[in-house]
């Protein structure tokens, strides 16, 4: 299956979050690595989007969209560092 990276999710997540996700730094709760979200590996399919840790492949986040609703999960992220301004 082809995959992308966190840059590709900038638009989809800007619909819900007021910060730029590509430069936000996520801490993986699988391996503890901290990385810009742009460096994460992104798998998209008609069922939804899965974001994986670039260091250990742990699932960081999921996005499922259907009609007028979206389900946003950050089950594998213990913290997100967002720059103000």
């Amino acid at each position: 299956m082809q995959h992308l990276d966190g840059n590709a999710l900038a638009g989809a997540l800007a619909e819900f979050l007021s910060f730029d996700v590509t430069t936000a730094i996520a801490r993986c709760n699988g391996c503890g690595a901290t990385d810009e979200f742009a460096r994460a590996i992104v798998f998209t399919s008609p069922a939804g989007t899965v974001v994986r840790c670039p260091s250990c492949d742990h699932v960081l986040a999921t996005l499922v969209e259907s009609g007028d609703r979206a389900w946003l999960g950050f089950s594998g992220v213990s913290a997100i560092e967002v720059r103000r301004g």
Partner: protein, 273 residues
């Protein structure tokens, strides 16, 4: 440095195609007039949304070949789209879209894959900016190595143009892998950029067919060819890599093997293999 540039806020904007011209044998250059576009930094992308008469929508990301502040109520934005055979959106944009067509664009998007001239990043440094590794901002700008495969060059033409427009002294180098001479995107622009006063060097690698008399036989880029054509790790360049997912991952792993700092490498995957 270019750690976390501040970029305009994203939003959805109505846009009109004002020109669709052939860019290469398989790609088109699209100029859009975007209502309320807030301007964008070099390297950012936008999402294009097409809506069919029955309400079905398809959205895809495209890098922006232009950059700069907003210019009034309507701003001209340049894209370059390569046709993916059997694709849903790219054949429409390349072969069907014409002047007057309306689309929606969401952007500008992404502050990660961005380069800003030293003047702009110095202003950011003054407000306590730090580099990607979280360290203090070095006073001399780090040289920049850009590495593109095919349409992956689109964000780089914006960066190289911003570099030239600012007459920025940062050494800039672009390694550009293309199939044939007819597949070079933005050829006239690069010709001008190479002779502009801002230091910019272009190294082309042809993978299927080279121009007559070209010193290298056409071949896919190798780790050895990469080592010869990019700034060495000892120069501590910032490295940007963009193109198909397969290209980006091959190049990024070779860069690490060649001693480049993983933190100094920024990648953007376009999809495909």
């Amino acid at each position: 440095m270019i750690g976390r540039p501040s970029v305009p806020r994203s939003g959805w904007h109505p846009a009109t195609v004002v020109a669709n011209t052939p860019e290469t044998t398989s790609a088109a250059r699209l100029e859009l007039e975007v209502e309320g576009w807030p301007g964008n930094a070099a390297g950012q992308h936008l999402d294009v949304r097409l809506t069919a008469p029955d309400g079905y929508t398809a959205t895809r990301s495209y890098s922006i070949a232009s950059s700069g502040p907003a210019t009034g109520d309507v701003t001209r934005v340049v894209l370059a789209v390569d046709r993916v055979p059997d694709g849903e959106v790219s054949p429409f944009l390349v072969d069907v879209a014409r002047a007057g067509d309306r689309v929606e664009v969401h952007g500008p998007l992404g502050a990660f894959f961005v380069w800003q001239p030293a003047a702009a990043s110095a202003a950011a440094a003054g407000s306590g900016e730090s580099d990607a590794a979280g360290g203090p901002v070095p006073s001399a700008p780090r040289p920049v190595q850009l590495i593109a495969g095919g349409s992956g060059v689109v964000p780089f033409v914006a960066m190289a143009q911003a570099h030239a427009d600012a007459d920025d002294a940062t050494p800039f180098r672009l390694l550009y892998s293309v199939r044939t001479p007819a597949d070079v995107f933005f050829a006239p622009e690069f010709e001008r950029l190479v002779s502009a006063s801002a230091p910019f060097r272009l190294d082309l690698v042809y993978t299927r067919e080279a121009p007559a008399g070209w010193p290298m036989a056409p071949a896919r880029i190798t780790r050895e060819a990469l080592a010869e054509a990019v700034l060495p790790a000892s120069d501590a360049p910032l490295v940007y890599v963009c193109g198909s997912t397969g290209f980006v991952e091959r190049v990024a792993s070779w860069l690490i093997e060649l001693g480049h700092d993983a933190r100094a490498i920024r990648t953007e995957r376009f999809g495909g293999t």
